[in-house]
Amino acid sequence: MLSITQLLALLTTALLAAAHATQPKTNDGYTPTTVSNGGTIVGAVTYDGPTPERRPIEVATKEEVCHKDPIYSETLVVSEDNGLRWAVISIAEINTGKPFPDPENPDTRPTLDQKGCTFTPHVVVVPRQHPLTILNSDGVLHNVHTWSRRNRAKNVAMPGMIEEMKLKFRRTETIRVTCDIHPWMEAWIVITDHPYNAVTDENGAFKLTDVPPGTYMLRMWHESFGPMEKEITVRSNEETRVEFALSKADRLKEGNKNGQ
């Protein structure tokens, strides 16, 4: 038999659950304004340590599109000058600043393509509640399988004849994405609650523009290294340089399976 308190607890849980179902969190923690006198944060992420030799992955499928170009692992990509690719740079907490990129504009909207049996880009940043455009340039069946914890799990098929699809995520999280049909395919979707994020290029470089002057924690995340933070100060119309120098000791022992 249920006691009164248990009944009450039950009721509250039910009510809370209902409330959650109808009120997804939005980007209301961030207010976009015009930033006229912002500063710029530029810098690079470097890794000075042993890197595995980069050789093409053996692709166990007969599908032709998967053999057009050699496919490489993107888990640890380092340039000759030690620049580390695919690191995510974000301001840890910021409540107001420049507007989000237009989610409908094909040039700026966050996009994840399935091309040559890889996910491109390997790391994509999406503001929460904004659509992520998923493309299938291959014309063969792929599935987008997310390994999320804070967000609901998704595993959606993208048959060859479907060229475009949209996905939305409710909460900030760094989510690994795989394809069960082509197990070497892997990408990371970074869900954020503000537009101050960058992914390092092939030289390890990054740039954040129109940052309101102030002192911030700048966060670096990379799947092979995990997070790192640095305090920085941004001044009006000035450039602030930041370097994240990583070494062997910073490597994660096992690969990262969930993006914390």
Partner: protein
């Protein structure tokens, strides 16, 4: 009575022997005997999960679901719902671990079962899954059990998310509730008036959307090493000879094809039209050797 208090006598040896604690003796006695099952429950869990079970009004001893669950389900699913009941060893297919595995037979696009989805499993059992039907349970009993097993799933999220330092206790509660709150179920409507089942159309859709996994002729031989969400090997269903566990009726097949089978590689198909899914339902039945008549979709 404290559960911790009962923990040590029955499980230390088993824990050493197998690394996991599932004492047969106690469990066999447990079927039909509430008190002994409480003892088993205590054996199977560390103090944290016992605390979690006790913290929930749904899973705490004394709730409606508790007695029903212990009497009808614990033998397979384990007294605390981790899929490790005594009878589990004898089953070809693992009973669901409600804490750590998603539910598979759902009618929603986000992989979370509705109360009706769970009720259907509980009332009619799952073919080949060796999960028996329980026609003697009243509707209220079935609802209580559905709520009970879903609560295990929520506690599983609380348990996993609690390890994450970046989350407050309130975040953990909120996200855990969210992850067991389903979207509206999909509507399985009749095919449009000009719909005609066609082997050709069905076959071409099958080739584009299914054959990579189920193989060109449906034998389930398309994938190399398919894994479930916990990294254990799964088998892609052989559509020509394996029983369809979630049910082979057109409506159930429609739901499986549209919503996918969560926790396994089988994806949802949000991009197909209803008529395309119906073509696939007909084509799947054809592969199964049980084609559907033209008049009765």
């Amino acid at each position: 009575m404290s559960r911790n208090h009962l923990r040590s006598p029955c499980c230390e040896d088993d824990r050493k022997a197998s690394g996991r604690c599932a004492p047969r003796r106690v469990a066999l006695l447990a079927v039909g005997c509430g008190v002994m099952i409480v003892a088993l429950n205590a054996c199977l869990n560390d103090s944290q999960s016992i605390a979690l079970l006790d913290s929930s009004s749904i899973t705490a001893p004394g709730s409606r679901g508790y007695a029903l669950y212990q009497a009808n389900c614990a033998a397979c699913h384990g007294a605390s719902g981790r899929g490790n009941g005594v009878a589990a060893i004898a089953l070809k297919i693992r009973p669901r671990d409600f804490w750590n595995e998603p539910f598979r037979y759902v009618s929603t696009m986000d992989g979370i079962p509705t109360s009706d989805d769970l009720a259907q499993t509980i009332r009619s059992g799952r073919l080949l899954g060796e999960m028996p039907a329980s026609p003697w349970l009243s509707d209220e009993d079935v609802r209580a059990l559905a709520e009970y097993v879903l609560e295990f799933n929520r506690l599983g999220w609380v348990e996993r998310l609690s390890g994450d330092e970046s989350m407050s206790a309130a975040d953990v509660e909120e996200i855990a509730s969210d992850r067991v709150t389903p979207l509206e179920p999909i509507v399985v409507s009749m095919p449009s008036p000009d719909f005609r089942p066609s082997s050709e159309v069905g076959r071409s859709l099958y080739v584009q959307a299914c054959a990579s996994c189920h193989g060109p002729s449906g034998r389930g031989n398309g994938l190399n090493m398919p894994l479930d969400d916990r990294g254990r090997q799964v088998t892609v269903r052989d559509l020509t000879s394996d029983p369809i566990r979630g049910g082979a009726s057109p409506t159930e097949l429609f739901k499986r094809i549209r919503c996918g089978v969560p926790g396994t590689p089988m994806p949802a198909q949000p991009a197909l039209t209803d008529d395309q899914v119906w073509q696939l339902v007909f084509y799947t039945r054809q592969l199964m050797g049980r084609p559907l008549g033209q008049t009765n979709p």
